[in-house]
């Protein structure tokens, strides 16, 4: 009997809250400024989506053209084996493809980082990192650190106006603007006593307003998010991925977090002026001050020096390569590191011998440089991890970092791409080296065995992401709970 009574009370409360949301909607509708504001925000969201789309389309177009051009070149070279060697042009064409020196120069494989589906929402650092590389036989890092992307410093200075910016900066702003004085406004204009006399508690009043704004924000987000998924499907042939779902969850958690912050300000603030002061400053501190301070602290604590890696572009040269003793020594050394070098020609005077020495030297350089590059990358990745893990004190930048990670548009994604490209470089050697070591010409079958770059999809799940999202949830619950405790003390 008692249980039924409780259930009835709960249902009544739920119904009354929903009815209250309806009332709030009626009040919300009365002000045309609110609709203007929402329309403005929706337009900003669509503009952000367009920016992400335009950036992604530019990358996809470039990758498609680049791949087609490189593959055509490889097909042309493979076709050179069928050239008529009785003619000068035919002989030249044949040598271009078959001779080791010519092939070393002309065999260029494409590697590319195709944007993942979530990239449409978060450009992140996608504009400062290369998304395609060319790979030749010679030293990997020598080639790598000559290839960059033309970044636009004028745009990088201020950041992108993408969906991520819309969510990270503008959602909180919208929540602050719509709700900073949800209760204080009624106190200021003296309406609160009237509202309270209808049996309404401060908590119910606030909850109904926050629920309404939460639903409105969710509606706006769904329009843009859905639009992004449709664009992905129709323009890039990409179906929704798990990273999209995680982006969706993250954006919602972040919105709930900001609702809880403003809810808390409302519970403690008693006037519009005070609330404006705290809500405005909360936004500024969370979106501007803390990210800058935390970035500064991370930068000071984790030093990253690029002078070593910046000097890897120089092509090895000198008389040492004409020294037979040096050559034999290098090959023998290399055999220990790469057993395939066991078959290398060690006959001084043979062209293949000098070429093998040259390639062995490049390989050894790569092995040495890899340590420095790994350490350089580790420093950068550590910085990003700390940013992502700073959600307790730096939620905006932490969520932004997680979103960039989901979009594979952060430094870690670039580094993964570099290592995958290095793997392609190693597989190219597997085709080129047997011919070099046995001092034979390349064959058409070698061209058929050339490796093809297959980008590996990163796992969107990570501990950082789980912690970050759980942290947002816990903080939101804390703020709501803390505010509700204060609201219970309100007597009208």
């Amino acid at each position: 009997m008692k249980v039924t009574a409780n259930k009835r009370t709960q249902t009544t409360q739920r119904v009354s809250l929903m009815a209250l949301v309806g009332t709030q909607f009626w009040r919300f509708r009365k002000s045309p400024i609110n609709f203007l504001l929402l329309a403005g925000f929706l337009l900003a969201g669509l503009y952000g989506l367009y920016q992400g789309f335009a950036f992604k389309r530019k990358q996809v177009t470039t990758i498609t053209t680049f791949r087609a051009e490189r593959n055509t070149n490889l097909q042309r070279m493979a076709g050179n084996f069928r050239a008529d060697t009785a003619t000068t042009e035919g002989r030249e064409a044949y040598h271009e493809a078959a001779e080791l020196l010519g092939a070393n120069w002309n065999l260029v494989l494409p590697a590319f980082k195709y944007p993942v589906s979530t990239a449409i929402f978060a450009i992140g650092q996608g504009d400062v990192f290369p998304y395609y590389y060319t790979v030749k036989n010679e030293g990997f890092f020598m080639q790598l650190f000559k290839q960059g992307e033309i970044a636009n410093p004028l745009r990088s200075l201020v950041g992108h106006f993408d969906t991520c910016f819309w969510v990270i900066y503008l959602f909180p702003l919208l929540i602050v603007m719509l709700l900073f004085n949800a209760l204080a406004a009624e106190l200021d204009n003296g309406n609160w006593r009237l509202i309270h006399s209808q049996g309404m508690t401060a908590r119910q009043w606030l909850l109904s307003q926050f629920l309404l704004v939460g639903l409105v924000v969710e509606g706006l987000f769904l329009v843009v998010f859905g639009g992004g998924l449709l664009l992905n499907y129709f323009f890039f042939g990409q179906l929704p991925a798990i990273s999209d779902l995680l982006f969706f969850v993250g954006a919602n958690l972040y919105t709930v977090f900001w609702l809880s912050v403003v809810y808390c300000i409302n519970a403690f603030g008693r006037s519009t002026g005070t609330n404006a002061f705290y809500a405005g400053n909360a936004w500024i501190v969370a979106c501007i001050v803390l990210p800058a301070l935390v970035t500064m602290l991370i930068e000071s604590s984790i030093r990253v020096d690029n002078t070593t890696v910046s000097r890897m572009s120089r092509r090895p040269q000198g008389t040492k390569f004409e020294d037979d003793a040096f050559g034999v020594r290098t090959i023998r050394q290399m055999v220990k590191l790469r057993p395939q070098f066991r078959h290398a020609t060690v006959t001084p005077g043979d062209r293949a011998f000098y070429f093998a020495v040259y390639m062995a030297y490049h390989e050894m350089l790569d092995d040495t440089n890899r340590v420095a590059v790994q350490s350089y990358f580790d420093g950068i990745e550590q910085r990003q991890r700390w940013t992502n893990a700073s959600f307790l004190i730096n939620p905006s930048a932490a969520v932004d970092g997680i979103f960039a990670g989901l979009a594979a548009n952060d430094a870690m994604a670039n580094h993964r791409f570099v290592w995958q490209t290095m793997d392609l470089h190693a597989r190219l050697h597997e085709v080129f080296f047997p011919a070099l070591f046995t001092n034979r010409l390349l064959r058409e079958s070698d061209y058929r065995n050339l490796p093809v770059f297959e980008p590996k999809r990163p796992n969107p799940f990570s501990w950082e992401l789980a912690l970050n999202y759980a942290g947002l949830l816990v903080m939101s619950v804390f703020f709501f709970g803390y505010a509700n405790r204060e609201l219970k003390r309100w007597v009208g």
Binding site: Q125, K146, G148, D305, G401
Partner: protein, 471 residues
């Protein structure tokens, strides 16, 4: 007036919230100053060492053929100047070093924005960022209730009843705000310059220092005016604060992003792929697209044989290979120049869009002027790249000339450079540009910043108590 200003300060001194804000401002300013001084001094040392190391390697390379020596190449590292510790501007977003070798202009790589993670997108803490972004915020929080607060408290009629003119009260409030922040800024700026001079052992011309100081003074005055003007336009303290905060968010956060994105949409930058492709096409098919490389080489050979009345290139009075090498270099340089000109032109157009849009944002105007004054603007970055490129061309030309004049045809494997040749080539010296050079393209921003101040002054002059109470 003096009493009114002192009274305003006395009131501020009583408010705990304002004291806390001031402490926050000082703390963030100190953090920014410490961080940039530490960072830039270390950067200068690292890059100076790297540049010296590159030079040492060049000088100590073994004697070899000039073209091989040219291929050994050199590195150019961008070094921070004294004012970079105040305003690093665009420097974190552009490459920091380049490898210079024959035949090609390599990309400037290793920008700080690649090394810093996504956090940098929220702004890189520097004294300039504090002055451009945080200082106006503090001004807002000090001034949002200057007039509306007196009105709400009912103290404004009391002041007026004492025979003090309304404009005098308004100007006293403006000056009270301006003087506090101007003094704070002046001390902060002087401290930044003094410490960076000490740490980086470099100096900046007095005119540049005065210029940067004066534009920030104007900016502070602008926000002081804005705070008081908005405060006088609203009937409630809350309304005034909301309006000022929204204005700050719009001018300092939204507008710069929108302007940069609109500029990029209007004038998109080519991708590196398109850029490289256009260059290779220009080199292969000729700058006009109808002059293939092979035809050019044949034409060149024929012309030389005719001019020197010989039948074989071996009989020319110089090494034909060296001559061809330099001609090829010059041709590829022309191709690079053409494509780079397009990129710089696009960037210039984007900057112009931003310059014009900065009419809506004093933040954008002061940011652009501050970068120009501090030598961290787009023009300064392009200038460094061009100076490095001139150096590349000079040393490659020097090596090609040696090959042409001192070696015989077909002696690529045997000819070696004479001792002292490497040292004869001077090291890369980057010229510091004058203030007038830096400001040449920043005229609109000067006009907008002055325009904001003048319009706000006009609004203040147009104020009177009757209008205030009529609202």
């Amino acid at each position: 007036m003096k009493l009114l200003i002192l009274n305003e300060w006395r009131q501020w001194a009583r408010e705990r919230r304002l004291k806390a804000l001031l402490v926050f401002g000082l703390a963030i300013g100190a953090a920014a100053l410490w961080h940039q001084l530490d960072y830039q001094a270390q950067l200068l040392e690292t890059r100076q060492d790297a540049q010296q190391e590159s030079r040492r390697e060049w000088l100590t390379q073994e004697s070899k053929h000039p073209h091989m020596a040219a291929h050994f190449g050199n590195y150019a590292y961008k070094r921070p100047s004294q004012l970079h510790s105040f305003d690093p501007g665009l420097t974190p977003y552009t490459g920091s070093s380049v490898y210079m070798e024959p035949h090609r202009q390599n990309d400037f790589l290793f920008s700080q924005s690649q090394e810093n993670g996504t956090g940098l997108r929220f702004g890189w803490l520097s004294p300039a960022l504090v002055c451009q972004l945080v200082l106006p915020l503090l001004i807002i929080l000090f001034s949002f209730n200057t007039i509306v607060g007196e009105r709400e408290r009912g103290t404004l009629p009391l002041l007026l009843a004492q025979g003090i003119g309304f404009k005098r009260i308004v100007f006293a409030k403006i000056l009270a705000t301006f003087l506090v922040f101007e003094l704070g800024f002046t001390v902060f700026f002087a401290l930044t310059l003094g410490l960076s001079r000490l740490l980086m052992a470099a100096s900046v011309p007095t005119s540049t220092m005065l210029y940067v100081w004066s534009i920030y003074t104007m900016y502070i005055f602008c926000w002081s005016l804005l705070g008081v003007v908005v405060s006088a336009r609203f009937r409630s303290v809350g309304g005034s604060m909301v309006a000022l905060l929204l204005l700050w968010m719009f001018t300092a956060i939204l507008m710069p992003r929108m302007a940069a994105n609109v500029a990029e949409n209007l004038f998109p930058l080519v991708t590196n792929y398109q850029f490289k492709r256009q260059i290779s096409v220009a080199i292969e098919n000729g700058l006009d697209g109808h002059d293939p490389k092979s035809d050019r080489a044949l034409r060149l050979e024929r012309k030389l044989l005719e001019r020197y009345q010989v039948t074989r290139v071996e009989d020319l009075p110089f090494n034909f290979e060296g001559y061809v090498m330099q001609q090829g270099e010059e041709y590829s340089s022309k191709a690079y120049d053409g494509q780079f000109a397009k990129i710089f032109d696009t960037l210039e157009k984007q900057k112009r869009v931003q310059s014009w849009l900065s009419v809506l944002s004093p933040f954008m105007a002061v940011r652009s002027l501050s970068m120009a004054g501090s030598g961290s603007s787009m023009e300064s970055e392009i200038d460094f790249q061009q100076q490095a490129e001139h150096f590349r061309r000079a040393f490659v030309q020097d090596m090609n000339r040696d090959m042409r004049d001192n070696s015989a045809y077909g002696t690529f494997d045997t000819y070696r450079l004479k001792p002292g040749k490497y040292a004869a080539m001077p090291d890369l010296q980057v010229l510091a540009r004058s203030l007038s050079w830096s400001l040449a393209r920043a005229l609109p921003e000067h006009i907008w910043l002055a325009g904001w101040v003048l319009v706000l002054l006009a609004l203040v002059l147009g104020m009177n108590e009757k209008k205030l109470y009529a609202r």
